[in-house]
């Protein structure tokens, strides 16, 4: 029995009905032959027509459930947005650092030893004085025998009367005047004194310049640059370091503040509202400091040959402002929190008489702050100082110190202390009253 609801008419038909043209054929063999004749393109259907009959039977029996299921299926597929995706750890990576460094070391050793030799020679050269300058120079570095050299090695110009051979003072090679580089003695001294700090500048008047070939000059130049980076700490670096340090301090305060807010929200009595407010004020102050530093960075002057510097400054400023906007301005306001908490406690009290939970206050005493031990002044009155009273005064003093240093967790533990002391004091008083 095949059952179908045609889209055209709404009443239910029963019988052997062709699924395509919805005509009744009274028997299964008729239906089959009709189908083969007229709907031959749907060859596969022939195989599945039996399935259809079976499905239809099932359908009749379970019509409502399937309906609902299909519908629900469609609906649940509507929930297409993200849900929680587990964090992914980074995949494989491979290091070539060691191989790199080995190759580099081989290559650089050669260069550094050569450069060091040059530096030593340079230092000795600077101490040559006297009329036999050239003689001394030749004693230090053997000058290449120029008789075999007919052309300059760097520019290939022939040597003649007008173009004379010259020698590099550091390596002895031959070049013409145009290809020589000159290193002023002052600069040479600077290079040298970075390495040897104990020689004094007792060289007397020498010629202003030392003649070098381009190769030696390059070696010295690149060494010079390496020295330069290590010494140079431009203004922007210092400012940036300060910026980062402030950020780190700020982060600690933020963590503490969030803890406070959470505990206020859940109606615990650990922290005081006014403590939260003063912490927020100090956070705001530190945020201002961040702002000021980043503005200072912006105002660093940059010369024309440093186009990237202004991009850098802008980027730093942008990042800082965004940080302030997104992390700091969205911190919850303690006054609001307190209002919420009060509303909630009122509701609670109205609902049920809550026994006050004795919460184990786990407060970590954080790094290294401790109150100073100020000598407690003798009170003006001559009443004998009860040791408990003294203790109470001392602890109160500590609490004030802790507050002003923004150490709110210490405040909490000290206040607990104070409570116990006050209890003990009261008990004491009662006893003494009774005894008296």
């Amino acid at each position: 029995m095949a059952m179908a609801q045609s889209p055209l008419d709404t009443d239910i038909q029963e019988g052997f009905i062709c699924p395509v043209c919805y005509k009744d054929y009274r028997s299964s063999s008729n239906l089959f032959s009709h189908f083969v004749e007229l709907h031959s393109e749907e060859q596969d259907l022939l195989k599945s027509i039996k399935d259809l009959v079976g499905k239809a039977k099932k359908r009749i029996l379970k019509i409502d459930e399937k309906d609902l299921e299909l519908f629900k299926n469609e609906l649940s597929l509507q929930e297409f947005h993200w849900d929680y995706i587990e964090p992914q750890e980074p995949g494989v990576s491979r290091k070539h650092t060691d191989f790199f460094k080995i190759v580099r070391r081989e290559r650089l050793d050669h260069r550094t030893s050569e450069t060091n030799r040059l530096i030593i020679r340079l230092d000795k050269l600077l101490h040559i004085n006297g009329s036999d300058r050239k003689q001394q120079e030749q004693e230090l570095v053997t000058w290449l025998d120029g008789t075999a050299v007919s052309r300059c090695p760097s520019c290939a110009a022939t040597f003649n009367i007008t173009r004379r051979q010259h020698h590099c003072r550091l390596c002895g090679s031959v070049m013409c005047n145009l290809c020589s580089c000159f290193l002023s003695c002052d600069v040479a001294k600077m290079i040298v004194t970075n390495v040897y700090t104990d020689r004094d500048n007792s060289s007397s008047k020498v010629e202003d310049n030392i003649r070098l070939c381009t190769h030696c000059m390059n070696m010295l130049e690149s060494r010079n640059q390496v020295q330069m980076i290590q010494g140079n700490q431009p203004l922007i670096c210092q400012l940036y370091d300060r910026l980062q340090k402030t950020k780190i301090d700020l982060q600690e305060s933020i963590n503490l503040y969030e803890k406070m807010c959470n505990s206020l929200m859940s109606s615990e009595d650990t922290f005081h509202l006014k403590d939260a407010q003063s912490l927020r004020a100090s956070i705001a102050q530190q945020a201002e400091v961040l702002d000021i530093i980043s503005k200072q960075i912006m105002s660093i002057s940059s010369e024309d040959n440093q186009p990237k510097l202004s991009l850098l400054k802008n980027a730093i400023r942008q990042a800082t402002t965004r940080y302030i906007k997104e992390y700091l301005l969205v911190l919850p306001n303690p006054a609001e929190l307190d209002k919420m908490r009060k509303n909630r406690t009122i509701k609670h009290l109205q609902a049920v008489e809550l026994p006050k939970p004795v919460s184990l206050k786990k407060i970590a005493v954080t790094t290294g702050w401790s109150p100073e031990n100020l000598a407690v002044q003798q009170s003006v009155t001559d009443t004998p100082n009860d040791p408990l009273e003294e203790q109470i005064k001392i602890v109160q003093n500590y609490i004030e110190q802790a507050r002003s240093a923004n150490r709110y967790e210490e405040v909490v533990s000290l206040e607990e202390n104070l409570k116990f002391l006050k209890e003990a004091y009261r008990m004491n008083q009662i006893h003494s009253d009774i005894n008296v």
């Binding site: 596969d44 195989k47 297409f80 070539h96 080995i102 190759v103 850098l312």
Partner: protein, 563 residues
Amino acid sequence: MNVIGAVKAYITKMIDESDPGMKVLLMDKETTSIISMVYSQSEIQQKEVFLLERIDLGGTNNSGSNSGLRYLKCLVFLRPTPQNIDLLSKELRNPRYGFYYIYFSNIVAKADVKILAENDEQEVVKEVQELYMDYLAVNPHLFSFGLFNCMNNWKSSTLQKTVQGLASVLLSLKKSPMIRYQANSEVCHELAQKIDGFISNESDLFKFGQASQPLLLILDRRCDPVTPLLNQWTYQAMVHELLGINNNRVNLSKVKGISKELAEIVLSAEQDSFYAINIYLNFGEIGQNIKKLMEQFQEKAKSHQKVESIADMKAFVETYPQFKKLSGNVFKHVTVVGELSSMVSEYELLDVSEIEQEITSQSDHSSHLQSVRRLLNPTSQKKIRDLDAVKLVMLYALHYRNHASNDVRGLIKMLKKRNVSEYLISSIDAVLRYAGRYAHTNEIFNVVEAVKITKRLFKGLSGVDNVYTQHKPVLNEILDEIAKGRLREDLYPRLNGFTSQQINPRSQDVIVFFIGGVTYEESLSVHVFNKNNPGMRVILGGTTIHNSKSFLEEVNETIRANV
């Protein structure tokens, strides 16, 4: 298994390894796209990376060492190509920055590392590593390589890039899979062999302790040429089809009256929560959600106008940044959805799409021919785009090419009367040839038909039936078969190296790769499949992500290249 998470994890590792300090990121053209897909500029600034530079643009800075930025640390992230090695060597000889941490997106030859070491005269390099992110992570389960017209240069460059890219996907997800490929496609076989070769060459990288055997299935676009031709109705797919998404960027400059800041917008689910929720919803639902968003926005705007007391001002200042962010977002989406809906009405896409879906899901030749004729008629009220007209003829031709009374010639004549361009008309033939040799085309339409007929039979009972989402890509069938462990060996054989193992182990992790491109509709199917089968996880990738225009180009190129 989440490709966006994988790339983000690598980048975070890269940034955190070089200690605190101001940093600059040096990249090439392709790696810039890779990073921009997962990180926005503001996010990366919060991680102390303040400058983003390209190594291949304007780098000839001969005042290199004197530019005064030597206090910056440089993170270098490049593809290991010969040009990059060259440029990097030049940079190291004359370094602009203080320290260099070098990361390559794929395997780098030892010889190249040697060249770099020899050029590092000032000892500025501190790290040299390989981090395998050589692909564009589009969605958590979707990646692409951005290779257009891949068949054009298959032998020369595309094959190599595809191999490298796929290998990097495997390494970043830590999977060493069993490889199966589509039997009737030469290119699939070639790619499968190359991947296998790569894995065996770098076997020590691929040593993973795996609980179950993952599966890599390589398919050819030609097995399903129908899906890229259809018009789409879910947000991401629709925007790509009508406006075009390129590396998460949409170019809106041609829209009339567009403001300058909206000329190019970014649609990224990572940063935009409205987009993340609506990415797979269909057009009607998006409209409703936009309406809700607008109402939310209007409420906020109203509350901002009452700035009377100091307390109000304080509240305003505190919530202004979120408000600004929300408003920027709202404008962006309102513009996009507005543009989409104007295109829908202008191009009569509702009608066109209905016919498209009918042709692909049902088999009523005469009525389909009639509907196509009706829409192609130049005197009719509805003037559809040439592109849509040609696509209709293509779908008709693909479906009924073997039908006794098909009338493709007549339809082509009608197109010529409409003055449709030669290029589009020749594309019809190209598509048929593209599909012809490789696809079991008949199967595309008939395999699903038995099921469809049953569905249609009970259409009235089910109650919910969206005529615009009838079509299901062939990928759906394949995934279902994988889930049941019944993927046919004759159609999708294994490579020789794996014959010792069971053909259909319970694969929990599946990576499906389409040579020739993938579509957002298939990405939607994968997403739904993942949701319905929580024990399995499927990742989808392709040489590029197609819309109908790019697909037609690719088809034409392929036929010309005669691969």
